[in-house]
């Protein structure tokens, strides 16, 4: 067992940290989400030039071909900086779907453009009235000529506002789930873009006979979708750990400097004892996030491991987020100070790809089937 980073991995982490730090200090961070698209094209270009966008993409397709460890390192840094660039939603998730289901031609057409930061995709999968992990979808694909037309509603589609192309899940005429490339500006597509409460963006798409190009020849992509979501769960964990670490750092710095009753808040045990509990929560979350990453790096993609990590990370995030605001006092609920933005992001992650309720249920459902959980 080895949970340490290699020298190259540490270098990658430091480089990304430095890049993001140049753009997102306190004030820039608080303003980042105010104007569309809520992130910075210059940062995007630099991430692409650094190879960060192509980490998950094979070298043959213009990427770097790195392991999940590198991908999660970057996610943790994005979390620390609270960088709003849509690395996960617009690149990592679509690239994983393309790798698993796309034809050689489709991969060759899209993956290099994703790695270069020239194209943004979004995965339109969730539907109104269905909660994760439901696999029921009602968006339907009808055969038309050589292709398909799609009809149905997808919402929320994270980062759908800026997507150049969509990957849409829809029921094939034969019954399985197909994945389709759809032009969001095409006929029969209505986009309603919106802000999310963490300052990021999403959109609803209504498809009414929109043209769709089937990815590869997969007749049922349900398994591939589950694998990609498992990957995304680990990424959300890593981002959360980064964000929690900084939320706690901001809080302890505040306790050391803010004075009341003539002394710094760090003199009050009622606060320092709670800060210690936050540190415990952070370390437990970090352990489970590393667990999810290491499991992926070992070649496993187990939804139970993902739910184990998401449950602990979600609980820790809620704990640290609530305490960070409470210990800051009034300034903690203003949008002018960074800590509220970290808490908003952690809270939004808590409702993405399942919340504590869903992940707890996945674990509870199988608790009788084994004696002791093993690593």
């Amino acid at each position: 067992m080895d949970l340490e980073l290699t020298e190259e991995q540490t270098m990658l982490r430091d480089t990304v940290r430095e890049l993001l730090h140049r753009f997102y200090d306190g004030e820039a961070l608080a303003k980042a989400g105010e104007t569309d698209p809520g992130w910075n094209r210059t940062v995007w270009k630099q991430l692409a030039d650094l190879g960060v966008l192509g980490l998950t993409i094979d070298e043959d397709d213009g990427g770097v071909g790195a392991s999940p460890v590198e991908v999660m390192l970057v996610q943790e840094e994005l979390g620390r900086a609270l960088a709003p660039e849509p690395v996960l939603d617009a690149v990592v998730i679509p690239a994983e779907l393309l790798k698993l289901t796309g034809s050689a031609e489709q991969r060759g057409r899209l993956l290099p453009a994703l790695a270069a930061g020239e194209k943004l995709l979004a995965f339109a999968h969730a539907e109104p009235g269905q909660r994760w992990p439901s696999t029921e979808i009602t968006t339907a694909a009808a055969a038309q000529g050589d292709g398909y037309t799609l009809t149905g509603v997808k919402n929320p589609v994270l980062r759908g506002d800026v997507a150049d192309e969509l990957i849409v899940s829809a029921v094939l005429p034969g019954g399985g789930t197909g994945l389709f490339l759809v032009d969001p500006a095409g006929t029969g597509v209505t986009k309603r873009a919106y802000r999310t409460f963490d300052g990021r963006r999403g959109a609803q798409f209504d498809f009414d006979g929109a043209a769709g190009e089937l990815l590869g020849d997969t007749v049922d992509a349900a398994e591939q979708i589950a694998l990609v979501q498992g990957y995304a769960q680990a990424a959300l964990c890593a981002e959360s750990v980064g964000a929690m670490e900084i939320a706690l750092t901001l809080t302890t710095e505040y306790l050391k400097t803010r004075k009341q009753f003539g002394v710094t808040l760090s003199k009050f045990q009622t606060l320092t004892q709670r800060a210690a509990d936050c540190y415990v929560s952070l370390e437990l979350a970090r352990s489970m996030s590393l667990f999810a990453t290491a499991a992926l790096a070992d070649g496993g993609n187990d939804p139970v491991v993902a739910s184990r990590a998401r449950l602990q990370v979600g609980k820790s995030a809620e704990h640290i987020g609530q305490e960070a605001i409470q210990m800051h006092g009034g300034i903690g609920v203003t949008a002018e100070y960074p800590v509220s933005h970290y808490v908003a992001r952690l809270t939004a992650i808590g409702q993405t790809l399942g919340g504590a309720l869903e992940h707890r249920r996945i674990l509870a459902d199988r608790v009788g089937s084994y004696d002791l959980p093993e690593l």
Binding site: M1, D2, L3, E4, L5, V69, L248, T252, L255, K256, S266, Q269, T272, Q273, A275, A276, D277, Y279, V280, E283, L284, A285, R286, S287, M288, L290, F291, T293, A294, A295, A297, D298, R308, L311, Q312, R360, R361, L363, A364, D365, V367, G368, D371, L372, P373, L375
Partner: protein, 390 residues
């Protein structure tokens, strides 16, 4: 980054697993597993088997019976021991006074005490806490006054665990009452509890058991060559000892065994809607506890792989804090499974099973684990000052 154990580590683990299950008598291991009281003989027997095979004191220097193991090997040694319900080597000997003598004692003290300490031919007890010095240990008032070749000890200790079985005591005593800081005037003294002037009084606990004692010292004469290290340096040795103690009381393996038992019992318990284990509310609670334990286990592995220099890591406070909470959560779970069958105690020939009768006292007894070894509040203070810089 790699999750799986190496093949060498797997072989090492399997060898230990086999050893524990075949060499340590199953009656003793069952008493540990089901939470029954161990006799002095049980503990000595298990300790001697471990020591005869070089497995009692791996954390000591190699010259004194220790092993040149990696942190992971040391972790597997303890984890497998707990999973097999083997009584751990007596902590007062193996984790407390032994390492202190090995680190700070004279060559003469090492030769005199380390071999019988490893073999449990001397049973040590700990003379640290006093009625007015609990979490504030440095306020201790027991005195040792130099008189020729001896010290004369007067005062009182409390919470002396298993003192009723002990041969010797290691004691923090005040040798310089005029030291500028209260930590500065303390020494670390070893003596025979059968010395004239020592009185041991057992204290009955919440579950009816006798684990801890009060010890009174009235003009106890202690040879001066039984001082460890230097006079007035005892606080340094005590801090070293307490750091070791914290790491060893996480108890992940022990809690796992309890949760495994809890699931067995819940599977046998009918609720009117199937078994208790099938109840979604109960299952969610078990799932949550198992997950918290897994998070702690992984955290322990991270601490283990980061403490290769052998120094206590401040993160060990996290392990003590969380480990003790989860040990308690497991006893709460067992009590709740037993339900009304938990009410009778020590009753034979009735329908309430013995395990269920044990859960009430077990739950009550385990309230101690967030108090001893530095209370949870002390651990939080260590985390906030040492790690968070508050």
């Amino acid at each position: 980054m790699k999750l799986a154990l190496s093949s060498d580590e797997v072989a090492f683990r399997d060898e230990l697993r086999h050893f524990y299950k075949t060499e340590i008598p199953v009656e003793i291991r069952d008493r540990v597993k089901y939470g029954h009281e161990l006799s002095r003989d049980d503990i000595v027997t298990a300790n001697k088997i471990l020591n005869d095979h070089g497995l009692a004191v791996p954390n000591w220097p190699v010259a004194w019976g220790g092993k040149d193991w990696t942190p992971m090997q040391r972790h597997l040694w303890l984890d497998e021991m707990q999973l097999a319900s083997v009584p751990e080597p007596l902590t007062f000997n193996a984790s407390m006074v032994g390492p202190v003598i090995a680190q700070f004692g004279s060559e003469e003290l090492k030769q005199r005490f380390l071999p019988p300490t490893a073999a449990l031919d001397i049973w040590w007890c700990q003379g640290f806490s006093e009625p007015d010095a609990g979490s504030d240990l440095a306020s201790l008032r027991t005195t040792a006054v130099r008189d020729g070749d001896s010290y004369i000890v007067n005062g009182q200790k409390i919470w002396t665990t298993l003192g009723q079985y002990a041969d010797w005591i290691f004691c923090l005593v005040r040798t310089d009452p005029n030291a500028p800081k209260k930590q500065a005037g303390i020494s670390f003294l070893l003596f025979d509890v059968k010395s004239p002037g020592v009185t041991m009084r057992p204290i009955k606990l919440i579950d009816g058991s006798y684990e801890v004692n009060e010890v009174f010292f009235e003009n106890v004469r202690v040879p001066a060559d039984q001082l460890v290290g230097e006079e007035n340096q005892g606080w340094t040795y005590a801090k070293f000892l307490l750091g070791n103690e914290r790491t060893s009381i996480t108890g992940v393996g022990k809690t796992k065994v309890k949760i495994g038992l809890a699931k067995d019992y819940a599977r046998q318990t009918r609720t009117g809607h199937g078994t208790l284990l099938e109840d979604p509310v109960f299952a969610a609670r078990v799932a949550e506890l198992e997950n918290e334990l897994l998070a702690l286990e992984l955290t322990q592995l991270r601490v283990v792989s980061n403490s290769a220099d052998g120094k206590p890591n401040p993160a060990s406070s996290v392990l003590k804090l969380r480990g003790s909470e989860l040990q308690q959560a497991a006893t709460e779970l067992l009590l709740d499974i037993a339900g009304a069958d938990a009410l009778p105690v020590d009753a034979e020939g009735i329908a309430s099973p013995a395990w269920a009768q044990h859960t009430g006292p077990g739950y009550l007894n385990y309230r101690k684990v967030t108090i001893y070894g530095g209370s949870s509040e002390v651990q939080r203070s260590i985390v906030s000052s040492t790690i968070l810089g508050l």
